[in-house]
């Protein structure tokens, strides 16, 4: 089937089999290998990307379901000038990654949530962190990173308000 994946504002015209999962299309057809596959059964969440703003397990979605729908992956997380997203800074600052394999999934999960609700509360953050698997960090640094990013995000927005 001919489809066009719209990923991080770039258009990727593809000819894919209906059975092709989104994660494989992103990784192999679009060359966006930042999205990782950890279990291919929707449990670990390493492959989480944003489809139309919603966090989805890209191993459980077919590429053809995403024809023309805006998709965001970890490669599109930084700002237009390459300025790191608050989450990227916070993950480094809080040591929210070790091997880094699961990290893109946590980043996109949190990015989607922050965009919906910049004032993420403690419980929301806990629910987010509890959605994905990490075998290195023990999660607490990831929780701190998302909390810090939410704070910085809000400060950034407040800052923009003030300067406006």
């Amino acid at each position: 089937m001919k489809i066009t994946l719209s990923v991080n504002d770039d258009a990727y015209p593809l000819d894919v089999e209906p059975r092709r999962v989104l994660a494989d299309a992103l990784r192999d057809d679009c060359g966006l290998t930042g999205t990782h596959l950890g279990c291919e059964q929707g449990v670990c969440g390493a492959c989480t990307v944003l489809v139309d703003g919603e966090a989805v397990r890209s191993c459980l979605m077919l590429a053809v379901q995403c024809d023309g729908v805006p998709i965001r992956t970890v490669e599109g997380l930084a700002g237009p000038g390459g300025e790191p997203h608050p989450l990227q800074r916070a993950f480094s600052a809080e040591r929210g990654l070790q091997c880094g394999f699961c990290t893109p999934g946590f980043l996109m999960l949190a990015a989607g949530a922050l965009e919906r609700d910049p004032a993420l509360g403690e419980e929301e953050v806990a629910a987010l962190v509890g959605s994905n698997l990490c075998r290195c960090t023990g999660y607490e640094p990831i929780r701190r990173a998302i909390t810090r990013a939410a704070r910085d995000h809000q400060k950034g927005q407040d800052g923009r308000h003030l300067s406006a």
């Binding site: 089999e17 059975r19 092709r20 494989d24 990784r27 192999d28 060359g31 966006l32 290998t33 930042g34 999205t35 990782h36 596959l37 950890g38 279990c39 291919e40 059964q41 449990v43 670990c44 390493a46 992956t73 970890v74 490669e75 997380l77 930084a78 790191p84 990227q88 800074r89 993950f91 480094s92 600052a93 040591r95 990654l97 070790q98 091997c99 880094g100 394999f101 699961c102 990290t103 893109p104 980043l107 806990a126 962190v129 509890g130 698997l133 990490c134 075998r135 290195c136 960090t137 023990g138 999660y139 607490e140 640094p141 990831i142 929780r143």
Partner: protein, 741 residues
């Protein structure tokens, strides 16, 4: 913007620019898929690949019969004669064992082909426990016993010791099989180019992999380059050559095409190496004052289907059986028995959790029998700081330690007396859920065994003023690229930004051992510090010659050599320009070291539901000098959570047919999630190893060793179990509910 990323690894890993093996784009690369046995034990009647070869996009499909020259796994020393073929020839010995391999233009084509391979295996009875297998009623190898190894540490203990003891506690424990479960499963990509073969693999020991592959493919080591790119965790499970690796490398060479295998989680749960796997029996004797008199540990290890390194690994448990106590007599015996499951192999802790857990659980039982506080019982028996180096009855010589300090800090941090008071309060209140407090004192071994406690290290100064550090380690998340340059920079007195690290590429290094057994900081770190020191000496010698001064008249500070008197000074860049390349290459060797610590846990148990809520964990770990304290804390924390997994959640149950009941993957094998993380307080004491000038000991495995028995002891304490044999890990609600009944 230097400060934006705390680690050098962070930028690429946070922006999607990490490069794991599955991410590498190689034109014309074929994907490998293995057809796997659905039975645990059986006779292979048929593996017919002809239909698979007709599938569009399939480049080839082979069973063992189609590849008569395919080499088997290398023999493990001392256990020869039981061949482990890369593809099953006639007998399946573990579920998931590979019956055929299919190569396709991509994973989809290869899976299509695999679905068309016709296989027939006639099942045989399967044995999955050491006890069943040791009877040899079902033999994995005709004419050979399933018992693959017997060993012991320490001397047998005389009957009179047990007879004259005031108390003897006997108990049995199970150290269940665990899946190491790095988030990235195993990977290999083999790219043949002319006479050379480049192998990319998420791996802990690239030089070992090169050596093994060279032997298997019967070609010189120099013709193979092994590169370890970003690696998504390992925890011990990625340091060997595996049957699938052999098939992939062999076919890549034979076809002259790149071939890649990226293990998926489903096959990983069947055929990745597993850790632990011991049935244990203990006897612990003490006098009326609680002084330990003797300890006996009997290990029956279920080591999986083929003799391998895992067969000898239970000896780690035997050698470490003494633990942190002054017990005068200790005897440990080991029997490793082949079973119809994938092999056991080192998993984070590797032999030391299995030593710590039975001893620490039995200490709590002993305390109860003697009506002593478990902390007091331990304090009476811990090796005092002035007794180091301490030679144990099981043959280890501990380098250094202050066990009482670690225990006291753990108790203080926990608020031990406060929790005891809370426990008493709840015991008096029939409506309150019981709480329990569990302790665990441990000693581990890091660095490796004699004969492998060395590595290649090197430091080179460039004309441009930069410094390159090289070592034989390989990172799978431990921050080597950040930590090692910082250490070299500190030694040389230069800015860390000037130093970069090269590791994990056999073409770039004269040799190497790898990263396992918590050895990288201890051995490679100490080695890099040593190499940097040698570089300073060499620089001073050259400067002395240049300035026609005795070497004592030169000095080194802040990356610059200068005369003791006078103002002349020369940086490394200038020195290299004037005197030529300046490079130190060393084989650095040190002895093993013994990190230690004390962990404590508080749990609340609902006896009606069997649920355990961990209220607090305190971990005091001593790894000597911490090269980067924040990195060490990251290791401690992650390791504790894996220990929590062993205590409460993780395990491999088997059906009667010997097949693991893990059909729903990670919905059946329960890795801890954030919802399970209790408050965890990390503390440390610092007792450097005297065995290197650096003083670092291994730091990554402490949580897997110290935490599980602390949690299980806490549950036993909450339930006031006199004899907690019924509490076997993982403490699922079912297990706890039965124990409480």
């Amino acid at each position: 913007m230097v400060d934006r990323w705390l680690r050098r690894e962070d930028e690429r890993l946070l922006t999607g620019r990490g490069r794991f093996v599955a991410d590498l784009r190689v034109p014309g690369c074929l994907d490998a898929v293995f057809v796997r046995s659905e039975v645990a034990h059986g006779t292979l009647r048929e593996a017919d690949c002809s239909a698979a070869r007709e599938v569009p996009g399939v480049a080839g499909a082979w069973s063992a019969a189609d590849l008569p020259d395919l080499p088997p796994m290398p023999d493990a020393p001392g256990v020869e004669g039981r061949e482990w073929p890369a593809l099953v020839k006639d007998r399946v010995r573990y579920p998931g064992e590979a019956l055929a391999v299919v190569l396709g233009d991509d994973r989809y084509r290869a899976e299509d082909g695999a679905a068309r391979v016709r296989v027939r295996v006639d099942p045989l009875p399967a044995v999955v426990t050491a006890e069943e297998a040791a009877g040899d009623e079902v033999r994995l190898f005709e004419g050979r016993s399933n018992v693959a190894l017997r060993g012991e540490a320490g001397r047998p203990i005389g009957d009179e010791v047990w007879e004259r003891a005031a108390v003897v506690v006997e108990s049995r424990y199970r150290q269940q099989l665990l899946m190491p479960s790095p988030m990235e499963c195993r990977t290999i990509l083999c790219v043949p180019e002319g006479e050379r073969l480049t192998v990319w693999s998420g791996h802990q020991a690239p030089h070992r992999l090169r050596h093994d592959l060279a032997g298997l493919l019967d070609r010189p080591e120099e013709s193979i380059r092994v590169v370890v790119p970003d690696t998504g965790g390992a925890f011990g499970s990625k340091s060997a050559v595996f049957p699938e690796f052999i098939a992939v490398a062999w076919l890549a060479v034979r076809l002259g095409r790149p071939v890649r295998w990226v293990e998926d989680r489903r096959e990983s749960l069947l055929v990745a190496t597993r850790g632990r796997g011991q049935d244990q029996q203990v006897r612990l004797a003490a006098d009326a004052d609680g002084r330990l008199l003797a300890y006996e540990l009997t290990v029956e290890a279920d080591v999986g289907a083929y003799p391998h390194l895992g067969v000898a690994f239970p000896m780690q448990t035997a050698w470490m059986a003494t633990g942190p106590y002054t017990t005068p007599e200790v005897h440990a015996t080991v029997r490793s028995v082949l079973t119809n499951t994938m092999i056991t192999y080192p998993y984070r802790g590797a032999g030391r959790p299995e030593a710590t857990s039975p001893l620490e659980r039995t200490m709590d039982v002993l305390a109860k029998r003697l009506d002593l506080d478990p902390a007091d019982l331990r304090r009476r028996n811990l090796i005092p700081p002035d007794r180091f180096p301490y030679r144990t009855p099981t043959g280890r010589t501990y380098d250094s330690g202050d066990h009482p300090a670690a225990l006291d800090l753990a108790l203080r941090t926990l608020g031990y007396h406060g929790w005891r008071a809370e426990q008493a309060r709840r015991r008096a209140d029939p409506a309150a859920l019981p709480v329990g407090i569990g302790l665990s004192c441990y000693v581990e071994r890091s660095g490796g065994e004699r004969g492998s406690v060395h590595d290649y290290v090197g430091v080179e100064a460039g004309e441009d003023g930069t410094v390159v550090a090289r070592c034989g380690a390989a990172s799978s998340g431990q921050s080597h690229a950040t930590v090692f340059p910082a250490l070299v920079a500190e030694t040389l007195g230069v800015e860390p930004a000037r130093v970069r690290l090269i590791e994990g590429d056999t073409d770039e290094l004269p040799g190497g051992v790898g990263s396992f057994g918590s050895r990288s900081a201890q051995i490679d770190g100490a080695g890099l510090q040593h190499a940097a020191t040698l570089l300073i000496e060499e620089a001073r010698e050259r400067a002395a010659r240049m300035w026609d001064l005795p070497i004592e008249e030169t000095a080194w500070s802040d990356g610059v050599v200068h005369p003791v008197r006078g103002t002349a000074a020369m940086g490394l860049s200038e020195l290299v320009k004037r005197t030529g390349p300046l490079r130190i290459d060393e084989r650095y060797e040190a002895d093993m070291a013994f990190p230690f610590g004390a962990h404590a846990a508080v749990v609340e148990v609902d006896p009606d539901l069997g649920t355990v809520r961990v209220l607090q964990i305190v971990a005091v770990d001593d790894c000597g000098r911490a090269l980067d304290p924040a990195v060490v804390r990251g290791q401690q924390f992650g390791s504790i959570v894996q220990g929590l997994g062993q205590a409460l959640y993780e395990g491999v149950p088997f059906g009667d047919d010997g097949v693991p009941l893990l059909g729903y993957g990670l919905l059946d094998y329960l890795l801890p999630t954030y919802a399970e993380i209790p408050p965890i307080d990390l503390e440390e004491t610092r007792t450097p190893t005297p065995r290197t000038p650096l003083g670092a000991k291994g730091a990554g495995e402490s949580g897997c060793i110290g935490t599980p028995p602390a949690i299980v002891n806490a549950v036993a304490d909450a339930l006031r179990l006199d004899h907690p044999e019924r509490l076997q890990m993982p403490l699922s609600p079912d297990v706890v509910w039965r124990a409480a009944a």
